[in-house]
Symmetry: C3
Subunit: 261 residues, 3 copies
């Protein structure tokens, strides 16, 4: 394994500037718990969130949208069917779609669904170490997930997953790794308070979906998505006295974020 | 077209005082993304929000409530059926109900449903220019929506819609117009930050529903609803550094709002 | 009726310390409106929230979780069935589960369901005076609910309910009473602003579920859950200028809460 590259400030500034110019319309099919926060994160970054969930409407909307997010938290059979309809419409329209495989592995409905989704060419996958290990191991024939949560093991799994499905994988934690199976970038930063606010990971997946719709080098854009969130997180942690004030400061920092090139 | 009137401070103070006295119970059948914010906006204004969504329970509850809100964002077939049951119960009980036709026009399920709802005597309709144009044009035989978003064009559509269905229409944006088809009021104010927080429009519809339940001149009360929100928005923008701090300041300002008569 | 006891600072400190050590995984099947706030309250207290709602997945997850919360706000028939599956799995696994009977009494679907749930051995029930009266009176043969909302009447109902179903009942309001039918504790404090923010009661039920999973005297732990919330509420009210700033301060205070033994 070669050493991951770091994202340059110039690339970060370039990707963020592109996002501000393009203001992509992001169709979010996500879980019940994080919808408001996800929408507010996208709005703070000048993207446009839209949540459309009926199967017929979701398929119609995937044709208008610039990006689609599929997040399997609070999955039900109805939502699975609507998500499938949206993914298929997105593929027909050439709209890139991003998968957040929340808690894949232990729960059967979402595990089977995530395996099915892997064959439908996601542009990017964003998960934590356990989720990426679970996704990759099922593909490769299965080891147990609970015993291995090292970032390095997850990085190998991420690279394997990216190569097998010709996609990008962002495995995020204290350090985020973003890989296409050949090239790998590492993004550090953030704050432990991000784990004390619900939805920071899910919102990151929506931001990945937004950045994945930009023209240019998608791997660099997705790494920029991770860095935008970790940067706003470390800035917010400086002024916050707890997770309540952190949320407001985090959104404010996403809004005012300027990156010197 | 005659020039719209402005809402007087005395009327605004009167309507707000009435709301504080009556503390209406507002049954909100609204979309997944904005439920918490909608409830908190109503609570800050001393109204009582209640979200009841099962068809049978929603019909029961529409009889107790002082007002009903129907918002078609994140519509599904099940929710449509429950909303219909609630609207029918509300009409039987004489409870005024308000329609927010989110994204009507392009998406088929909600477009057909909104047309159906128009025949069920809403007390008020609150939407943005595109939504009001889409609603009115389908009624009148259809022009394209995407090309016309001028406030003036939407105002004509709003007046036409109000007359055709004997209802009030609030078409909101940088300036809000509130019309019964004959009389029209204009409300200015607000802040661009309101468009960077999810749910300000949807919450306004719930506030319209609350004010529409007050005794007296409904057109003036609905204009007061629009002004209460734009006033809290412009006050909050003065202290906010971004959309995160804006949300907290907005709710605080709704809570402390006092209007000199 | 004997005079309720007060919770000692030493017991409060002990229960909170245990919670911080155990960081219980709380499976929340709760209503649409309060999910984000509930999750953030649990996270601020170092517990781990998880929302899993499909019937099959919910039954699987109830086996992993340390506690289960069933909140019947925004109930539907599908959710009822999934909640039943989760409760049955929790009972098999020995996972304690807590009931929040939101608005039980007037609405038929949830009223029938809450009566059914009472026979499935909840570890604790948390409701306001009207809800506890409705639950207890239906059990006992029914009086009207609307005429009686005195804390004392609700306390008797709570004691009767706890004895009849061998459970704990927390009836909360300006003063909270926590009883197992024999012993009763009273917890004061809090702030009127807590009633101007949606979900403080529902989140308290999730906190009750978390504390009910701790080893030791469950009655004292549940009283500590009530006191933790009222303490954070009175602290937050000191710095808040309205319900918006209150929410952030409330979560910050839960996070920084330290109790001298």
């Amino acid at each position: 394994m070669t050493q991951p590259d770091l994202l340059s400030s110039a690339q970060l500034a370039h990707s963020l500037q592109l996002l501000h110019q393009q203001t992509p319309l992001v169709h979010c099919m996500t879980n019940d718990v994080v919808q408001t926060f996800t929408a507010n994160v996208l709005l703070a970054l000048r993207a446009s969130p839209a949540m459309v969930i009926d199967a017929t409407e979701a398929a119609q909307f995937a044709g208008f949208a610039d990006a689609l997010l599929i997040n399997v938290g609070t999955l039900t059979c109805d939502r699975r069917d609507a998500m499938l309809a949206a993914v298929e419409a997105a593929r027909l329209a050439g709209t890139p779609w991003t998968l957040d495989p929340v808690a894949v592995g232990a729960l059967t409905l979402r595990s089977a669904f995530c395996q099915q989704l892997l064959s439908l060419q996601p542009a990017a996958i964003r998960g934590n170490a356990s989720e990426i290990l679970a996704l990759a191991n099922q593909t490769a024939g299965g080891r147990g997930v609970d015993s291995v949560h090292q970032a390095d093991a997850a990085l190998s799994a991420a690279q394997q997953l990216a190569q097998a499905h010709q996609t990008l994988v962002a495995v995020t934690g204290e350090v985020d790794y973003i890989t296409d199976g050949t090239r790998t970038l590492a993004v550090a930063g953030g704050s432990p308070l991000m784990t004390r606010v619900v939805g920071t990971g899910c919102a990151l997946s929506a931001v990945v979906a937004a950045f994945a719709s930009l023209p240019g080098d998608r791997l660099l854009h997705v790494a920029a998505a991770c860095r935008v969130m970790s940067l706003a997180g470390e800035q917010a942690a400086r002024s916050a006295t707890g997770p309540g004030s952190f949320v407001a400061a985090f959104l404010d920092n996403l809004w005012t974020l300027e990156v010197a090139a």
